[in-house]
């Protein structure tokens, strides 16, 4: 059975955008300057609506849309002590036109008590998906003013991540996606060596130990094929590949032993893939990679945040419809 899910941050609705902006700049909406409680309520409404939409469309592991955040880096840092998120320190998010506040690690990284509003566990109920940065990506996208050694920082984050994953499990989360775009997106840098990848794999072992949830290693923004052999060896239950950036030619030689989260919906183009297009892509991928439908989960290549909400929601709906049609066909 082909499963479907979203990959990451979803765009805020027009209403939420207006309300948040009015709150921030002290402007009136419908004759009233919104309070923090109004903004909280609007966030909850937006997240609840998105969760319902995913459940209605038959997506197996809904996400809450991560609507409060600029990036998963700040989201993860919010759960840690020893790290500060400065109001400035803006950095470009990979090759996009979006930015994040680069956190600064100032002392020993530790998982802190559950903080409110990281994920909407109350709205998500059971069987939901959390999205967090993997150890390598986190350690390379924060400023290290304490360890002065990216690998030591990566190991410390992996320890904290292990506890965070256990906490999420307690909250009803059943699928954790750990994003590792920094492993594959390395403009003007050499590919990671075997030794470097071994160190990353070690930190993954730490992070993924002692858990019952499904853990997916997700890559995007670049071709994953040069690292595929090594990535398949990571202690993850499935592997996410951006199929807008990764050609299938280099993947044909592998025999896949773990499921693939196939990023076939383009989160960076407003062209809405039809249900027929998506079905054809899935069938083509299964054929090219010689895998059965039980090995395939379909999703956007990255979060749909790069699109206005209306278009993102249409992509979500077609993803769900394609999944249902493929399922019906199998029966």
């Amino acid at each position: 059975m082909v499963e479907a899910s979203l990959t990451g941050m979803h765009p805020r609705s027009e209403k939420l955008i207006k309300l948040r902006s009015a709150y921030r700049w002290g402007k009136a909406v419908e004759g009233k300057i919104p309070s923090q409680a109004d903004v909280e309520e609007a966030h909850n409404r937006d997240a609840a609506e998105l969760i319902t939409r995913q459940r209605n469309m038959g997506l197996q592991y809904p996400i809450d849309g991560l609507l409060r955040w600029n990036s998963i880096i700040e989201l993860a840092a919010h759960n840690l002590s020893g790290v500060e998120i400065p109001p400035t320190n803006l950095r470009r998010w990979f090759n996009t036109n979006t930015f994040y506040h680069k956190p600064i690690v100032k002392s020993e990284l530790r998982f802190t008590e559950k903080r409110p509003h990281v994920f909407h566990a109350d709205l998500l109920g059971k069987e939901w998906k959390a999205v967090l940065p993997g150890p390598y990506t986190f350690s390379r996208l924060v400023e290290d003013a304490h360890y002065c050694n990216p690998d030591a920082l990566m190991a410390a984050y992996a320890e904290a991540l292990k506890l965070l994953i256990q906490e999420l499990e307690q909250q009803g989360c059943s699928y954790v996606q750990l994003d590792e775009p920094s492993l594959v997106f390395r403009p003007m840098m050499k590919p990671l060596s075997s030794d470097e990848l071994s160190t990353v794999r070690e930190s993954w072992r730490t992070a993924a130990s002692g858990r019952a949830v499904h853990v997916n290693l997700h890559t995007y923004f670049e071709d994953a094929s040069p690292l595929l052999l090594q990535l398949l060896d990571f202690p993850a239950d499935s592997l996410g590949i951006d199929f807008q950036e990764t050609g299938t030619a280099a993947l044909k030689e592998y025999s896949f032993t773990k499921p693939l989260a196939c990023g076939i919906v383009d989160a960076r183009n407003s062209l809405v893939e039809t249900v027929r297009d998506l079905r054809r892509r899935v069938e083509w991928l299964m054929d090219e990679l010689n895998v059965s439908s039980s090995m395939v989960r379909i999703c956007p290549n990255t979060g749909l945040r790069y699109l206005p909400r209306r278009i993102a929601d249409r992509k979500l709906e077609n993803l769900g419809k394609a999944c249902r049609e493929l399922e019906a066909e199998e029966r």
């Binding site: 090759n95 071709d223 407003s270 790069y306």
Partner: protein
Amino acid sequence: MKNKLFPTHEIGSLKKPSWYNAVRKGRPPSEADLAELQRWSRLLNLDSTPLRKLLTGRSTSALKRETLQWAVRFALKLQEKAGLDAVWDGEFWRSEMYEDPVSRIPGLRFTASYRGVLAFDDNYYRPAECITRPKKGPALYVDELKFAKSQTKRIVKVPLTDPHTLATWSYNIYYLRKLDKKRLDPKQARYEAKRDFTLDLAKGPLRHTLRELIRAGAEAIQLDAPAAITDLREFDEATLKQLGYELPLY
């Protein structure tokens, strides 16, 4: 400027004066806005009595335009006083480096009536999609250049967002649809579509703009290419040459 060893100029857009922002937003300038005007008039030794009359007088249809022209005079004077060799208007005519050119290139249209894509915090941008081959419209920024030149004896620089950045930050529908018929591998299709889109933007609307700017007396043009730092390496050497990038990128 050509004879100087290290000619100087400012790079990014300048902060718009608060009294100009007030007029742009349709509100009367506050006491604080007028105090800022007075302070800068004194610092730059610029007689702004006519502007003060304009700001405190009755609102007219020409108010916005005339206030903008005053804002440009302040920007030019500031750079002259700082001793820069090439000066410019601070991009006061434009709303934003992406949205402004894209709104004036036929073939591109915005995907939403509001800024709906989060840049950071509560700042958003409004991406456009390319729905047909970009065509030459009226040349961009010629009026800006002519006005700035009329206000200074220094070399006036015109900034322009480069075609690769415009293509990178836009949704490429037209070229992807065209290539879809060939049933290419998605990665290959994406690459070819982006290359064709970028080259057509360069050869059509942007080359036309460059020609018209040069005809109008532009001596310095700055191509702003923020997307180049991460994405330009995707193109082959021939494409880069066509775009004018001939230096090794890495």
